[in-house]
Symmetry: C2
Subunit: 164 residues, 2 copies
DNA sequence: CAGTATCCGCTACGATACTG
DNA sequence: CAGTATCGTAGCGGATACTG
């Protein structure tokens, strides 16, 4: 619907008095943030990765991406098209046929996306281990806290009893 | 939600009759998808990128990340901690001091995150151009469609008038 | 300072129905 | 087939208040 791209800026990285080595602006309205949020959303990564293999039709994408609704696929594709990452080709035949493929810009992104996916695949076991370790720690700490509470209460009662 | 299928996972990439070169499972419940969604969310990328510079305290992070609420920062940090990407160190002093830093695992991710950010910075102008081009196209097409509609209506009325 | 707890609005998203 | 339009809902995320 609306779209707040009224900002003229071209590079928004060097303003605050308090910034340091960070090479990238963290401000909310920064264009980089916006683009990043768009690219790194739930479906875009999937679509980009799939389209790198070859161009695909709407329904092919739909079938390949488990759990996506037409709505979200259409939305995602339009966003990617708008950002110039994906091109849309309508073949005037019946039944209608629409092909999606990565633009050169999109293809250049894919290299990075692939790296991210590869990293995730490579480390998913470590992450799984870390998660269970964390979950165990939380439970243990909770139990310890409960015992501590009981102990204190008992002590307080002891003091009370002694003071009478 | 439900998950009735007894998957022989361990590696979940090769089941359907219709799969191709894609090296990564697109299914919703796949662990890779879940991890990706977590890493690539609105704040995680920021936090990881910031922590690569040096370890930071809670409030330092809060101040550096424009627009984040305590709630989201705490949430994000706990998620990252749970996934073993960030370590949390409590210094028992007053006032309390808590340092966050990347674990080796988190540091290895950062390399990839950095690549993503760099790509975005590099191509933000191209994307901006693509966007305005797209927006113009949409407006033009809309206007054309409206004129077409008017034309047809006029023709229809003409036919009606002639047929009377 | 470094959080957690509570409330709550907004919108992202899915399900469904309809169009060219 | 390739979408758009409409509606209902769940949960993301912000604001505020409270704790250790």
């Amino acid at each position: 619907m609306e779209d707040g791209t009224s900002k003229s800026l071209g590079h928004c990285g060097d303003t605050d008095d308090d910034y340091d080595v960070l090479q990238w602006d963290t401000r909310e309205d920064c264009e980089v943030r916006q683009i990043l949020d768009r690219i790194a959303d739930k479906w875009s990564l999937l679509v980009i990765a799939l389209l790198d293999q070859r161009s695909l039709r709407f329904t092919e994408l739909r079938r390949k991406i488990d759990g996506i609704s037409q709505r979200m696929l259409a939305r995602t594709l339009r966003h990617l098209e708008r950002d110039g990452l994906v091109s849309r080709t309508v073949h005037p035949v019946v039944p209608p046929r629409v092909d999606y493929e990565l633009t050169p810009l999109g293809a250049s992104l894919h290299h990075t996306v692939r790296a991210l996916v590869t990293w995730t695949e490579k480390h998913q076991n470590e992450i799984a281990v870390a998660r269970s370790a964390y979950d165990v720690r939380v439970v243990v700490e909770q139990e310890a806290a409960e015992k501590e509470a009981v102990r204190r209460e008992a002590m307080a009662r002891g003091v009370l009893a002694g003071g009478r």
